[in-house]
């Protein structure tokens, strides 16, 4: 049976143009992401090969743009990651499932009833208008989430929207967008472990890493395996800044910056810090794992990191081509300079007044305190 499975997987891989060698290499890169040595590659391969343990999963779509689905499905050029993701037996996923209507809802209800599934949530929890800013199959998005979350073995919030509301919750947030974790207590699933995978959209490699953790390392039995930080993000993926792993870091250290696009500095691929790169305060491993089947990533393709892996990233990071966000609609640099300028002007006026009043030459000291005088006493 196992042998059959194994052969089955290699057939699948071969059909997708992936050799065993490529497969093992990929498993090695997953191992690196999980903080394991390359030696763990065969183990990971075995876990994937022995995919008999299909893990039931439900994929919920809340307030979203389907970017995360796009990113994960990466239609058109399937590869090893798909094979791993195939190990999730996704029983419900609005965007790509074949079933529709009642049939689909039944499949979901059945999975929920059986319990022990992984709940993947994509999109913002829309709490506005009593949750009515999002309705699915006659219910509010919040009700749907509550139902699906209650019996899940674990929740994986994929993409910034599900993590903390993402761009949907950016000011003024009329839809009341929130992250899954933010409503866990209110909707009564705070006991279910939540794994947060921010960025906009989510990087499929991270879902692969979590699936491998679940399949191979028994993360569901022992959550410590996931090594989450206080925000529920796997530390191995979100523990270092982009800046610390960026190939342009050398230029940063040398003070070699792109100050404007369309200049020779841009051609030389200098550091993008001065055109707003948020790499120094964004914690993801984008430079190592990269995007789009490891083809490239933001900085490598010439664009500054806009900090999509940060919390409340749009409010915190826009305008994207500036170092810091506006404060009350005004540039912090302008506020600082105006304050400094106003102080200098104020002191100048004060100085002129001090000289013209003769005070600068020395003013007499009062003979008793004004307070004491008022009290009628001496000092």
């Amino acid at each position: 049976m196992a042998q059959e499975m194994r052969e089955g997987i290699y057939d699948l891989l071969a059909a997708r143009g992936v050799s065993r060698r490529d497969f093992l290499k990929y498993c090695g890169s997953v191992a690196a992401m999980l903080g394991l040595s390359e030696m763990a590659a065969p183990q990971i391969a075995a876990a994937v090969e022995g995919g008999a343990k299909l893990q039931p999963a439900v994929w919920l779509d809340l307030g979203l743009c389907t970017g995360c689905t796009e990113s994960t499905a990466q239609a058109g050029n399937p590869n090893v990651a798909d094979i791993v993701l195939d190990l999730l037996s996704i029983n419900y996923m609005e965007t790509i499932m074949a079933a529709a209507g009642d049939q689909a809802e039944e499949a979901k209800a059945k999975t929920i009833e059986e319990g022990g599934y992984i709940l993947i949530v994509e999109g913002t929890v829309m709490t506005g208008e009593g949750g009515n800013t999002l309705r699915i199959a006659g219910k509010t998005g919040m009700e749907v989430l509550k139902e699906a979350a209650s019996k899940a073995a674990a929740i994986v919030a994929v993409g910034s929207c599900a993590v903390d509301g993402g761009w949907v919750r950016a000011n003024p947030n009329p839809a009341g967008g929130k992250g899954v974790k933010d409503v866990a207590v209110e909707l009564g699933f705070d006991k279910v472990p939540i794994i947060n995978l921010p960025t906009c959209p989510v990087n499929p490699e991270w879902i692969v890493a979590v699936v491998i953790d679940v399949l191979m390392l028994g993360a569901l039995e022992n959550l410590a395996v996931l090594n989450l930080d206080e925000l529920g993000r796997p530390k191995l993926i979100f523990g270092q800044t982009i800046h610390d792993n960026c190939p342009r870091r050398g230029h940063f250290e040398n003070g070699e910056f792109v100050k404007q696009f369309g200049t020779v500095e841009e051609v030389k691929q200098f550091c993008l810090y001065e055109v707003g790169c948020k790499g120094p305060q964004t914690f993801t491993n984008c430079p190592k794992v990269r995007w789009n089947r490891k083809a490239s990533w933001c900085v490598e393709s010439g664009a500054p990191c806009i900090g999509c892996g940060n919390l409340n990233w749009v409010d915190n990071d826009a305008p994207f081509l500036k170092r810091m966000p506006n404060v009350g609609g005004v540039r912090p640099e302008t506020i600082g300079t105006v304050l400094g300028g106003a102080a200098a002007a104020g002191l100048l006026v004060h100085g002129v007044a001090s000289f013209s009043s003769g005070r600068a030459k020395g003013a007499p000291v009062e003979t008793s305190k004004a307070y004491d005088k008022k009290k009628g006493g001496d000092k």
Partner: protein, 219 residues
């Protein structure tokens, strides 16, 4: 007397030295900070950061030792006198400062003509000088909070707590940036007031440890 004498007892040599250290550190920190913020000057970021770091440590040690020394070193307790008292007493509010905060503000706003009775330092001055201590340490804290995440220090939780309190590392960056402006504004006002009250005498004493005699009223 309209201009009091400026005697060495007002600023003992060790404090003159420490004042220099403060000045150099703050100027260096502001400059290297501007370079790090958005290098208006193409020098090595690593170099700027190293200077920024070193100066912060020097400043922290300098200020801490300045506080400790203030419990031992004696200096003048009034303007224009050689009579001394423990420095910390001259730092903290004294009897002469009582009920004088508003009056001092009024004097500087030209709402009264006579200078107010104060101890060696006026009420506003004391508030400003005392505030420099928490502001400096606060700047150190926010700075480390910006730098620390990637270092994975064991004490990191101490900074991570602050970051989530203010709502993210970007907010921390802005706070650090405005903190620098607070220091710059303080320095501007501080330098101005010292200058307007007798540039040569004040600056001569605090920078060169040079005494100058007082001048009689109407002189």
């Amino acid at each position: 007397m309209s201009h009091e004498g400026h005697y060495r007892e007002a600023h003992p040599l060790i404090f003159v030295f420490q004042h220099w250290v403060n000045l150099i550190c703050m100027a260096g920190l502001a400059f290297s900070g501007f370079v790090i913020h958005g290098s208006f000057y193409a020098i090595s970021m690593g170099g700027a950061r190293m200077i920024h770091f070193t100066l912060m440590f020097v400043l922290a040690v300098n200020i801490t030792s300045r506080i400790i020394l203030s419990f031992w070193v004696k200096d003048a307790n009034q303007l224009g006198t050689r009579e001394v008292d423990t420095d910390i007493k001259n730092w903290l509010p004294q009897k002469e400062n009582k009920h004088q905060l508003l009056e001092t503000a009024k004097y500087y706003l030209f709402m009264r003509k006579e200078r107010v009775i104060s101890a060696k330092y006026g009420a506003l001055q004391k508030i400003a000088y005392l505030a420099t201590v928490p502001i400096t340490f606060f700047m150190g804290y926010t700075g480390f909070a910006l730098y620390g995440p990637a270092q994975q220090w064991p004490v990191w939780g101490f900074f991570a707590g602050g970051i989530s309190l203010v709502g993210g590392i970007m907010t921390m960056r802005i706070i650090h940036y405005f903190g620098m402006w607070v220091v710059i504004l303080f320095t501007m006002v501080h330098a101005y007031l010292a200058a307007i009250d007798g540039f040569k005498a004040f600056y001569g004493l605090i920078f060169l440890w040079r005494e100058s005699p007082g001048a009689e009223e109407g002189h």
